[in-house]
């Protein structure tokens, strides 16, 4: 193993790190970081995607610390693409101080994503989690002028670091029992071990950290405040990239590492293991997320609670296990991430226009901007799981995989809860769309919009539209992706299925 070889295999990560440093330098040397930074970052990420494509199809370094496999490469690309979709949102946010630093931290977070996705060894996974987590705490708290942003960052940090401690403790117990931190070796060792209390504690503690990352109830408490208070691109990144990577890793840990202690979540036939734990988390998240979302009047909080519920749906595939269940989970979480970045981008555009993201700020959006309204309809209806959008196929795939798993349709109870939850969820998605399409622009927002508009008209019309352009283009692109993945889901599903061993 030469260093050259290592560098070649870790090239994508290296490129992203170099890009982050380059963006930092630009921010320090020129005053035009807001324009140059995103461009350089986008270029760097694009090059990193190419580098991932050029990787060999299989490699394994240091006992699983860096694993290159079709699955890992695919999800490195997806994570980078999600970061790429987040970058244009930054350039539209004029309120952010120090955009160069912001983008650099965002890129470092992306490196965390890649490490998470690309590793099958617990210590490396933990390092990835921490790198990602630390970047996200900073991103959440980045808007120093906004007290909500600080609150979001602090809450996210406190919950996150506690969860990390749990995970680390769990990992150490697992290591003590199995004598290894590589997932494959743990999996082999666990086949010979009975499910003793210490192992159970280790598994539960490890899972808590991930439950926190995917905002599964009851570890979701940070989510509403982080989603609501953090700057829009941070919230989008937390909701998308971080979630996708966490599900990939969670799936790998439980299916490869803890495979032998699967247990069973079948109704009337529960067997201790990790699957009943995840099933309980899923059921609780679906019910709590959907019902609490009903009461929200802030669109970002609503998205946060719906994210809790969607985390629950996505867990169904992991509980179901197997190739089909895992691929359903991966498909669902990817389409969900795409949808959510889009939804947050629309929220950001509305927020810049009306100064808020409460439900009444969206009133009459269809009359003000048919484009944003149509895209929001696409994103929200996909979240609700209506055809012909990605969420519809995602749910079908996920629920049928869960239904198939277990003996004699033992997961029927979980599928029924999920279907019930998705029925409830339609109400709050429709409420938002009703406000957008049926509501009249309220007096204050209209006035504000008008004064904004007139101010803009007199000051810098061109600059404002030019600033809005990247985020509008991203929204259009993401809406198109959601539509295409709904009509031709096999473009992504076939890739995911083929990449699974």
């Amino acid at each position: 193993m030469s260093y050259l070889e290592l560098l070649r295999l870790a090239a994508p990560e290296a490129i992203v790190v170099v890009t982050a440093l380059a963006v930092l330098t630009i921010a320090l040397t020129t005053a035009r970081a807001l324009v140059l930074g995103p461009i350089v970052a986008a270029l760097g990420v694009a090059v990193a995607i190419v580098a991932v494509v050029m990787l060999p199809s299989h490699a394994n370094l240091f006992g699983g610390m860096l694993v290159i496999s079709p699955l890992n490469s695919l999800f490195k690309i997806i994570c980078l693409a999600l970061a790429l979709a987040t970058v244009p949102l930054v350039s539209s946010e004029k309120a952010l101080p120090n955009p160069g630093e912001y983008i650099a931290v965002l890129l470092l977070g992306s490196v965390g994503l890649m490490l998470l996705v690309g590793s099958e060894e617990l210590l490396m996974i933990f390092i990835g989690l921490e790198l990602l987590g630390l970047s996200l705490y900073v991103l959440a708290a980045f808007d120093k002028a906004d007290v909500h942003s600080a609150e979001a960052g602090l809450k996210y940090f406190l919950f996150g670091s506690t969860a990390s401690a749990f995970t680390l403790f769990g990992i150490s117990l697992i290591y003590g029992l199995s004598g290894s931190t590589a997932l494959a070796a743990i999996g082999q060792k666990l086949t010979t071990l009975p499910l003793q209390p210490l192992l159970a504690v280790g598994i539960v503690m490890t899972l808590i950290g991930f439950a926190f990352k995917i905002a599964a109830a009851p570890f979701h408490l940070w989510a509403p405040d982080a989603y609501q208070g953090a700057p829009i691109p941070s919230a989008a990144f937390i909701a998308s990239g971080s979630k996708v990577a966490s599900f990939v890793v969670l799936g790998k840990i439980v299916l490869i590492g803890f495979g032998p202690v699967h247990g069973s979540a079948d109704w009337h036939a529960m067997i201790a293991g990790w699957s009943p734990i995840l099933a309980a988390l899923a059921a609780f998240s679906i019910l709590l997320g959907n019902f609490v979302a009903l009461a929200q009047t802030n669109v970002r909080r609503l998205l946060a609670y719906s994210a809790v519920a969607h985390g629950g749906y996505t867990l169904l595939g992991v509980v179901a296990g197997g190739r089909e269940g895992f691929s359903a989970t991966l498909f669902y979480t990817t389409t969900y991430a795409v949808t959510l970045i889009g939804a947050f981008a629309v929220v950001g555009a509305v927020r810049r226009e009306t100064g808020g993201d409460d439900l009444q700020n969206f009133s009459g959006l269809a009359a003000r901007s048919p484009f944003l309204a149509a895209c929001m309809a696409i994103f929200f209806l996909s979240l609700a799981g209506l055809p012909p959008l990605a969420g519809f196929f995602g749910k079908f795939y996920l629920f049928s995989a869960a239904f198939r798993a277990g003996g004699n349709h033992g997961l029927l109870w979980l599928v029924a809860i999920a279907l019930f939850g998705s029925f409830v969820s339609l109400y709050y998605y429709l409420i938002v769309l009703k406000v957008i399409f049926v509501g009249e622009p309220s007096a204050s927002t209209a006035q504000r919009g008008q004064s904004n508009a007139s101010a803009v008209r007199t000051l810098d019309l061109n600059a404002s539209t030019a600033r809005e352009f990247p985020s509008r283009a991203t929204i259009a692109l993401l809406a198109a992706v959601v539509l295409v993945l709904g009509i031709m889901p096999q473009t992504l599903a076939a890739k995911i299925i083929a990449s699974l061993p």
Partner: protein
């Protein structure tokens, strides 16, 4: 060829969004007519085997999960495609006066129509479900944006009921898919599902679909939704959307799970009979013309469900014929109530209408309503009679008691229809003209501009209302022709429906 109904309709919807709004209604009417022309051409040139669910298009779609873009046709689906075309054209004609956000209006309208064509032609379970769910959201916007009385509530209620049904259907479809290992309806229809699975999957699936068909006690979305919807919306709801549920219940639930159907069919018959009688009784007590018609829809759809529950050729064929018949008649009734009367008078209260002497003011409306009422009551010569008598013959073989009760229900149907007819057009003595202004104020004071003074005044006998326009006459003429043609010569449709029904598994 008939697959083009789907493509034309969706293409028309997309074109609508792109072109300026002055063209909107023309694009819509051309699209709807083209769709109908395609289905009529297929109907007349018999080159497809209508006795079996014959594949017309089959393209791999999501091979990894066994989903195909698979369309097929038999006599049942062809009948429903036809009624969809007829109702679509007349719905567009009756919306000729929509000018506010017209593009959007016709866009949602065509999505409902296109999705319905898709459901009736799908031979792949996933594709069918996709089209079925595709219809939900356009309905919501059609009502919530363009509706009238209590529109947001009505739209939300309707949508949640549909989606609730959709969730049940989802479960049933997954069960069929996972156990049968396929999504192809023809293959699944050959598969032997275990009795244990059928015993729970059938009611889940059937009930899920039947929500949309207005099964008692899950029917309450129908009157509320119909009343809240704009005229074209109610026409589509009564004419097409309620048929989606009944059709899918027949095509999917009954055909895939015959044993489950045998276990549960008595309960379906019970619910159907309750629905017929109960809705008719409720309609008798309604004060709002659209509510009367809304409950009459539930009552007539009860006949469809009763026909399905009989599980014999007569009953099921009659049910399909009744889907056609009620599609036409329901659309006609709502067209009169919504477009001809309500748009002009801004009133739907029977008491208020009674004082307005509409027979003289709108003679064409009166004529149309008489025809529609006669068809709705089941007077021989109209399609309603042909369909209901076939259902009752079928029911006599399976559930004689149900026929007796239904017979009593039909008296109630006649009673409320005649009451509505008399109160709306022929109440010359004006005994109840007094509360008109008060009740009108109660319903629509906030939404509608106050009616002209002379309308409110009950003394004025002959009021001037905008005369019936040409598009309205065309639309009404088309629907009246359809109900008469099928009523006078039902064999025309039945010859195509019956072989298709005989091929279904639950009869064997």
């Amino acid at each position: 060829m008939i697959a083009w109904t789907i493509y034309i309709t969706f293409a028309g919807a997309i074109v609508l969004l792109v072109l300026p709004r002055v063209f909107a209604r023309w694009i819509a009417v051309v699209t709807a007519t083209a769709g109908f022309a395609v289905s009529l051409a297929t109907f007349l040139c018999d080159d497809v085997d209508l006795a079996h669910f014959t594949t017309i298009v089959r393209v791999p779609w999501i091979p990894a999960l066994g989903m195909n873009y698979h369309l097929a046709l038999d006599g049942i689906s062809l009948t429903l495609v036809l009624v969809t075309g007829i109702v679509a054209i007349s719905a567009v004609l009756f919306s000729w006066d929509v000018t506010d956000r017209a593009n959007e209006f016709f866009f949602w309208l065509l999505l409902v129509v296109g999705g319905s064509y898709g459901v009736f032609l799908s031979a792949d379970l996933f594709l069918l479900f996709l089209f079925y769910e595709l219809v939900i959201v356009p309905k919501y916007f059609l009502i919530a944006i363009f509706g009238s009385t209590n529109k947001e509530y009505g739209a939300m209620k309707l949508t949640l009921y549909s989606f609730f049904g959709g969730a049940l259907v989802f479960l049933g479809i997954i069960a069929a898919y996972v156990s049968g290992g396929s999504l192809d309806l023809n293959q699944l229809a050959q598969f032997q599902f275990t009795p244990q699975l059928q015993s729970w999957a059938f009611p889940v699936l059937f009930l899920g679909f039947a929500v949309l068909a207005g099964i008692w006690p899950l029917h309450t979305w129908a009157p509320t939704g119909h009343v809240a919807a704009p005229t074209a919306g109610s026409m589509l709801l009564a004419g097409i959307v309620m048929k989606l549920g009944a059709y899918a219940a027949l095509r999917v639930a009954m055909n895939l799970f015959p044993q489950g159907f045998q276990m549960w069919r008595t309960w379906i018959a019970v619910l159907a009979v309750i629905g017929i009688v109960y809705a008719a009784a409720v309609a008798l007590r309604q004060r709002d013309l659209k509510f009367v018609i809304g409950y009459s829809s539930v009552s007539h759809m009860g006949f469809v469900l009763l026909g399905l529950a009989t599980a014999n050729v007569f009953g099921v064929s009659g049910a399909v014929l009744q889907m056609f018949s009620h599609g036409v008649i329901g659309a006609l009734l709502f067209a009169v109530a919504g477009r001809m009367i309500y748009r002009r008078t801004h009133m739907r209260e029977l008491d208020a209408l009674a004082g307005m002497n509409l027979r003289d003011a709108l003679p064409f409306a009166a004529f149309t309503f008489v025809i529609a009422a006669a068809a709705s009551m089941g007077i021989p010569g109209f399609s309603g009679f042909a369909a209901e008598i076939t259902i009752l013959i079928g029911a006599w073989k399976s559930y004689p008691l149900a026929v007796w009760i239904t017979g009593a229900g039909m008296v109630l149907v006649a009673a409320f229809t005649l009451r509505a007819l008399k109160r709306t057009f022929f109440d010359v003595d004006g005994e109840s003209a007094a509360p008109s202004s008060a009740s009108a104020a109660r319903t629509d004071a906030r939404q509608m501009p106050a009616p002209p003074a002379q309308i409110a005044s009950s003394a004025e006998r002959s009021i001037h209302l905008e005369p019936i326009t040409i598009p309205e006459k065309l639309g009404a003429g088309l629907l009246m022709f359809a109900t008469l043609a099928v009523g006078l010569y039902p064999k025309f449709l039945l010859d195509r429906i019956q072989p298709a029904v005989e091929a279904m598994r639950f009869l064997k």
